[in-house]
Subunit: 153 residues, 2 copies
């Protein structure tokens, strides 16, 4: 016995946390390359999609919807505004707010981003069969949901 518990690194490499980091990094790289054409990145895609979904909105609501920090939202919207994909105008009804609205270019860009994102995700899961992909995504979604502490009582 006392079998050499040697492969400590292999054990780590088989850990879900390690694999998730690797896979996520791969996904980030693929998405990044795909979006590079538009000069945008993942957060831009999400925010642009959110603006498309919930019409003209204030930044704070946008942040609540997407989960981005207000600080980061500023930068993201600066980029989107500079690229003429959204407009940012003061809200006359509430002078604290900025009304973020999608432009025509923004809508078409969003379409391209969606397609690019889909392609990148197809490449990301290229190693799996369609059935496996479905299974994987379903399980992954449950892992990603962070419902802290379930039954405490």
């Amino acid at each position: 016995m006392t079998e050499p518990h040697e492969p400590a690194l292999d054990r780590i490499r088989a850990l879900p946390s390690w694999l998730l980091n690797r896979a996520a990094g791969r996904g980030r790289r693929l998405l990044g390359e795909a979006f590079a054409h538009e000069g945008l990145r993942m957060p831009h895609h999400a925010v642009l999609a959110a603006v498309a979904d919930i019409g003209p909105v204030a930044q704070a609501a946008l942040g609540r919807e997407t989960g981005f920090d207000p600080k980061d939202m500023v930068g993201i919207l600066n980029d989107l505004q500079r690229a003429r994909l959204v407009t940012r105008t003061p809200d006359p009804d509430d002078r604290r707010k900025n009304v973020i609205a999608l432009t025509a270019e923004g809508r078409s860009c969003l379409g391209r981003l969606a397609q690019l994102g889909d392609e990148a995700n197809r490449a990301l899961l290229a190693a799996l069969t369609p059935a496996e992909r479905e299974q994987f995504v379903a399980l992954l979604a449950r892992v990603a949901e962070e419902r802290e502490e379930g039954p405490v009582a």
Copy 2:
């Protein structure tokens, strides 16, 4: 037709790349909290394990084994050395190299880290049944392997 392609954000949130990012972030947080007791982080665990696996080794070989950048390896080893978990001595046979060796404290710490890591990973996959966990990890491992470009010829 022209069915309201409204839920653009929901589509993004269902993307594997998005879910992977979320799940990986959750894993990083759990691992980070678990390892905080030892004052270490994920990379330290990996490098410590690699040193345990392939005996006294040079930093470069360690970097090749673990996939860490040489620049980052310096910092990681600085931390491990400061914590007396490894020793870093000049190699007499090759004065370019540093020989990294595990200390007794390093070995016991590695054992604790392994246990903490396992616990955190258990929490990470708490939402899945044992059978699902196995399936998930198997699929995830295939997604994480980044074998660029398969059959080109």
